[in-house]
């Protein structure tokens, strides 16, 4: 496939800058703030998800090409299922009379 263009790779630049910024932010939160450990872990976790999304869209181009749509649907559905299975199970097994054993 020939996708040669003369455009400046803005996507890559923005992705690169954002990646560095997010990483530095994580370092800053971990070392230079007084939040409790739990909060720090949550913040880093959320930043990591953003980081992963940037990688997927800016560098790995999940939305492009013939299978772009399929990839996105696939990932969103997998994440949805994982959440349903994990949090659904926890909810079902710890509510109502079921919790009292």
């Amino acid at each position: 496939m020939s996708t040669k263009t003369n455009h400046f790779p803005w996507n890559h630049l923005i992705g690169f800058v954002l990646s560095i910024a997010l990483t530095l932010l994580a370092v800053f939160v971990a070392f230079n703030t007084d939040f409790s450990k739990t909060v720090i872990v949550w913040v880093i976790g959320i930043l990591a998800i953003f980081q992963a999304l940037i990688q997927l869209f800016m560098f790995m181009h999940v939305t492009e090409g013939k299978e772009g749509m399929i990839n996105v649907v696939n990932m969103v559905y997998s994440i949805f299922l994982a959440l349903v299975i994990v949090f659904g199970s926890i909810w079902v097994l710890t509510s109502g009379h079921a919790a009292m054993h």
């Binding site: 349903v84 199970s89 079902v92 097994l93």
Partner: protein, 648 residues
Amino acid sequence: MSLDEFFVTGDPLILASQIAIGLTMIGLIALITYLKRWKWLWNEWFTTVDHKKIGIMYIISGVLMFFRGGVDGLLMKAQTSRPELEFLDAQHYDEIFTTHGVIMILFMAMPLLIGLMNVVIPLQIGARDVAFPKLNALSFWLFFAGAMLFNVSFVIGGSPDAGWTSYFPLAGKEFTPGVGNNYYAIALQIAGIGTLATGINFVVTIIKMRAPGMTWMRLPIFVWSTFITSIIIVAAFPIFTVALAYMTLDRLFGTHFFTVANGGDPMLWLNLFWLWGHPEVYIVVLPAFGMFSEVIATFARKNLYGYKSMVYAVAGIAFLSMLVWVHHFYTMGNSAAVNSIFSLTTMMIAIPTGVKIFNWLFTLRKGRIEFSTAMLWSLAFIPCFTIGGVTGVMLAMAAADYQYHNTMFLVAHFHYVLIPGVVFAVFAGLYYWWPKMFGFKLNEKIGKWHFWLFVIGFNMTFMPMFFVGLDGMSRRMYTYSASTGWAGWLGFSAIGSIILAAGFAALCYNIYWSFRYASRDVGNDPWNGRTLEWATASPAPHYNFAKVPEVDRLDAYWYMKKEGNTGLKKSDLKPVHMPSNSWTPIFLAVVFGVVGFFLVFEWFTLAILASIGIVVGLVANSFDYDDGYHISVEELADEEREWRGDLQ
């Protein structure tokens, strides 16, 4: 372990089966040797990677397992036909309803559907095979190894006896110490690997191997339903794999995932089981819906009404299928919030299902309906399945379910869903695609006997169960007293089951009769079909299509026929690349079976030694550099001339 613990002893019925199995096996081996068919079997069937032959092997196994599961059913019906009968004792009855359930769902419905999917899907999308032919063979042989391991339990070691759901704590070592439930955990694990691989195979096949021009909205509806089914397989089967692995650890190595003591939670098993178990219901019923759609459109001589809404309905059912699992155990004592949410999601499934029912009815409307046997099954499906669906909505209401839960009402409900939904579909599919598999039709007259006996027998058998269920009979009761007043209903039901069995016998006779006497001159398109599988010869040649067809709309073959565009030019032919046979799938499956058997008996040293065979098989497979072979243009032209006459 002494020999009389190893073999199941002390019951004349089982002794007779042991002798019968022994004699049948000796007879089969002697017959094959006498006919000098071993080499043929090995080359043409055991090592084949051809999706059509694999499909046929799935179907043969499915029919055999139908017989086994059916006999289990008849024994149960005999036992409950009169009050206080002592034909079976409680233990034996427990084992029989357990194996009946497991075999009918996992070793009858699944292989029959996967078999038809295997035969039809590559043909419908204009492909030469599935994406991974050797993996496909491995899928079949692993399923077969699992099925055989499970079946051997009733003569060696004892059958599982905790129900097809194998609820803990009953299924734990503490309450069922024998090897029976080990068979459940390990045989289903082995078969499950095969099913998971099938799911992956069909997802890739349908995404990657469609004929040029076959966009998503030009897929035949059976391909759509298979695609979505495969996605559910990939999503749901790993949950069962994990649950069975925990069960195996609990039973074989003394862990406490599901036990009552030491922090285990039996409800965790129910939760995981139904997280897989409910999608499993849709795994068997969605391809069936696809088959009905194909058959109804063909024999109503109309295109399928509401094709797009059909696709969205299938996708909607699949989406909801993962969100309803708790409705199988409302009575565990959940909070009102949990039960309400799951009641809602469950009732929502009735919406897309209703859309499908109306689509079928509108496809029939003003159609020129031809009452072939395949069509009769599809027509009978609609009212019978609707009874199953409506009683399902009754069960979906959590508050009401406290009355119905685990009664015969439930048993009647799921038989009304699964028999019309799956078994009728498989029959319709078999009559419809039989000529594509074998080059002759099943006899229509015997087919109608099959149909009427089966449908009448089915309704007689299962309709009374609704009433005894509402009258308080719980499921899995091996006997009852005359004072309950159920004897009339259950006696009627038992008579129905004999008629049902006669229907199945008519199918077997039909297969035998048609093999011997049916006309071999059916042409490539005996039903005036609409989709690509009818564009090639019957039976389909091993390369499927001499030239890969091009698709420009839905129901492609129908319009090719209209435009006189079905011929073949010799100049269009190119050599066809085909995969070679492989011995590794059947070898691996045999080793898996042997390792599984040793694990069932907890003979760990032997199991470890035998599992070296798995490594050997995998390594041998990695070093297999066979790139397949080519069929030359001349060979293609010769084979095509046989049914087309001269090429253009």
